[in-house]
């Protein structure tokens, strides 16, 4: 599961770009399942789900919109009401909220290929 060492992150967004290519065959950071939040100039923070064994986000979701498919959490967009209770519940600030749908998106590990981990130039991301 991907975890991030924020201190080393430079904010380059290569992880976002490669994620969108992998899943959508186009370059669009806004579709990425990983997100960089900038607190200029002191910090760039990586938001990514680490796929907890006992996920607090699932517990928090009243609508049972977060389900596990092939070992990875996934959002059921029909059930999700964008209440974002999961965002509050996640102890790791790991929920990426799509700017397009307003609903959460979870990292699917690229079928355990972890392209963001591979492409990050500074080894910020690693899998556990």
């Amino acid at each position: 599961m991907p975890i991030a060492d924020h201190k080393k992150c430079t904010g380059c967004r290569i992880c976002e770009i490669i994620c969108s290519i992998q899943h959508h065959k186009e370059m669009n950071p806004k579709l990425a399942m990983v997100r960089i939040n900038s607190n200029w100039p002191w910090e760039d923070k990586v938001i990514i789900c680490r796929q907890c064994k006992k996920p607090k986000c699932v517990e928090a979701c009243e609508y049972e919109a977060i389900e596990r498919v092939d070992g990875c959490l996934r959002i059921d967009e029909d059930k999700c009401t964008a209440c974002l209770e999961c965002v509050k519940a996640c102890p790791f600030e790991g929920v990426v909220v799509s700017e397009i749908t307003g609903k959460p998106i979870f990292c699917d590990t690229c079928n355990e290929e972890y392209l963001c981990v591979k492409w990050c130039p500074h080894q910020v991301l690693s899998k556990t």
């Binding site: 430079t10 290569i14 490669i18 186009e26 669009n28 200029w40 002191w42 700017e99």
Partner: protein, 613 residues
């Protein structure tokens, strides 16, 4: 969804008229793409066709073209840049200015290859560009505010992850070298911030969610992978630059006598022991910052931990500003440079011109041309308090600051008394951080740069100073014309593609060409020669633009100090620049006549024959 018509492009150009609060969206014409690529090329073509010759750069007739290129916002490394072209209020000629960071990708995600901004708003305005539309909003509440504060307020209002173009108080009052800030970066040189101010445009907010399509996905991934690997193994982009930022060359330039000291009076900087890239790295750099898709992360967050400037910070300081607010003013107090750079960004002033003008003013003071009474305080070289005061005075137009903010050319014109000999500018643009007496190529580069003295149209220092294996003689004229011409054409490509110029230190022209091909699939771009032809076309068109504004061969020159006044000490002792020899050869290679006009045959070859010389 990404645009499928032209891969790599957003496919639309937005034209905004601030006078009527109207806008139109049109398809990006294919012949514009094929012949001018994007960025600077789009700017050159659009401005040459649409700008009224002789117009006042600060009138509503002036036009700003803010343009991305095909590579902007892609996986190609260092693709976060964007270009702004306009007529410069500092020089009165062609200006293209480039901004790093994240604005370029965001504009493309909002669905536009370029925005053309015309007219003048009746009151302070914020232009908001999002996926779903364009709006003209009241900017009165942030008018007068600093750039960083303004951006914070705009972020609160328009949401996280917006990108901005924003001017500060200096741009609002049309200081001739006001800049435009975007995040912690900016469009630095030539006064584009004053043009925005003259249009009553306080800020542009951009936010988008569209993607960029790829023609040959496998090919593009292959070349990008290769490019990242190349950048990692290059000693520059994989070594010095990530660690020290643009200051990786600082000590080398000092050693070569190519770092101008005290307004180019000498090439010897005695304070280098306390002021160099190692001190910066150990004491001030707190973290690395990268632009969009950049593994090089040349940018740093710096903070002063003790002393007079404790707590001051900046994203930087860049090599150029380490010089302009440092050695150029005989100043080695890094804290003051960090604070000074931050102030320049906050007020919205180009820090290179700012420092150049301060150094000039200090020399005028020491020579008795400007008195303490006229200035208000003593201002010898090395006085860091004076530097900080001058920045604020220029931004606000207070006292002598008003004259200073018109640039060194205008200032020396008003002062007279032989000051033009050491007013360090070309065509009105202040000279940046390299002394051509330590590297002749930079003399030719400054003299022939299309926007006036600039180090980013050709940068010969790599070949003349840094290249240890295959170094050119920095004091020879031989081969410099060819080097400068080739770089100008290739840099025009990079600035139209639009990616970061620093790719040049790790990648080849072939990399860029292959990347363009696999991304766009444009059949006309077969070889590197085809690509370089576009660069040459653009460089000739910007020349024609400036000639139309009155530039001729006599302006392709350098200040007297560099041509007639040898330095008295150090590695450049006794040297002056032999510009004439290089310039003659340069015109010959360019197929420009003795008056510096592109020859008819050249224009026909480049498809520019309908443009008059």
């Amino acid at each position: 969804m990404s645009n499928k018509k032209y891969f790599g492009y957003a496919g639309k150009i937005l034209t905004v008229d601030l006078s009527s609060s109207d806008y139109v969206v049109k398809d990006t014409p294919f012949d514009l793409i094929v012949n001018f690529m994007g960025g600077k090329g789009f700017g050159a073509k659009i401005l040459y066709d649409e700008l009224k010759p002789g117009c006042d750069p600060l009138s509503e007739e002036n036009i700003m073209v803010v343009a991305t290129g095909p590579l902007t916002g892609t996986l190609m490394p260092a693709s976060g840049h964007i270009t702004l072209s306009t007529k410069s209020p500092l020089t009165g000629i062609w200006l293209d200015s480039h901004c790093a960071g994240f604005l370029g990708p965001e504009l493309k995600m909002a669905g536009y290859d370029a925005i053309i901004i015309k007219g003048k708003a009746k009151k302070p305005t914020v232009l908001v560009i999002k996926d779903d539309g364009v709006s003209f909003e009241d900017g009165r509440d942030i008018w007068g505010k600093f750039t960083f504060e303004s951006q914070e307020l705009l972020r609160k209002k328009y949401g996280e992850n917006c990108q901005f173009m924003c001017i500060g108080p200096a741009g609002e009052r049309k200081a001739r070298f006001a800049n435009i800030v975007s995040g912690g970066r900016g469009f630095g040189r030539g006064g584009s911030g004053a043009v925005m101010g003259s249009k009553n445009l306080k800020a542009v907010v951009v936010k988008g969610t569209r993607g960029i399509g790829i023609y040959d996905l496998d090919g593009f991934m292959r070349i990008c992978t290769e490019a990242y690997n190349e950048l990692t193994v290059s000693p520059d982009t994989g070594g010095g630059r990530p660690k020290y930022g643009t200051n990786s060359i600082y000590s080398f330039m000092i050693e070569a006598g190519a770092h101008p000291i005290k307004n180019f009076q000498t090439g010897v900087f005695k304070a280098v022991k306390e002021c160099n890239e190692d001190v910066l790295d150990k004491k001030y750099y707190k973290r690395h910052i990268a632009c969009f898709s950049c593994p090089i992360n040349c940018s740093k967050a710096s903070r002063v931990d003790d002393g007079k400037y404790k707590g001051k910070f900046t994203e930087g300081p860049e090599y150029e500003n380490m010089w302009s607010l440092g050695a150029q003013c005989g100043n080695s107090n890094i804290g003051s440079i960090i604070y000074g750079e931050h102030l320049c960004d906050e007020y919205g002033l180009d820090a290179i011109s700012t420092g150049n003008v301060i150094g000039f003013t200090m020399e005028c003071f020491e020579k008795g041309i400007l008195s303490e009474k006229q200035i208000g305080f003593p201002t010898n070289f090395g006085n860091d308090d004076a530097i900080i005061k001058f920045i604020k005075m220029m931004a606000k137009g207070e006292g002598v600051g008003e004259l200073m903010s018109q640039g060194v050319r205008q200032m020396s014109k008003e002062l007279g008394k032989g000051t033009e000999k050491f007013a360090m500018h070309v065509k009105g643009m202040e000279i940046p951080a390299y002394d051509p007496r330590g590297a002749f190529g930079m003399g030719l580069a400054y003299a022939t740069s299309d926007r006036g003295a600039c180090h980013l149209r050709a940068w010969t220092l790599g070949d003349e100073i840094l290249d240890v294996r295959d170094r050119m003689d920095p004091f020879a004229t031989e081969f410099k014309a060819e080097l400068v011409k080739n770089q100008q054409d290739f840099f025009a490509v990079i600035q139209s593609a639009v990616v970061c110029l620093f790719l040049n230190f790790g990648l080849t022209q072939r990399h860029i060409t292959r990347c363009l091909q696999s991304l766009t699939g444009i059949k006309e771009w077969k070889t590197t020669e085809d690509i370089l032809k576009i660069g040459e076309r653009i460089y000739n068109l910007t020349r024609l633009f400036s000639m139309r504004e009155g530039i001729s061969a006599k302006d392709d020159t350098l200040p007297q100090r560099l041509l007639r006044e040898p330095t008295k000490e150090g590695p450049t002792k006794g040297v002056v620049v032999d510009l004439d020899t290089m310039l003659k050869e340069y015109y010959l290679i360019r197929h420009w006549d003795r008056e510096g006009r592109p020859a008819k045959e050249k224009l026909i070859e480049l498809g520019l024959d309908k443009y008059k010389v």
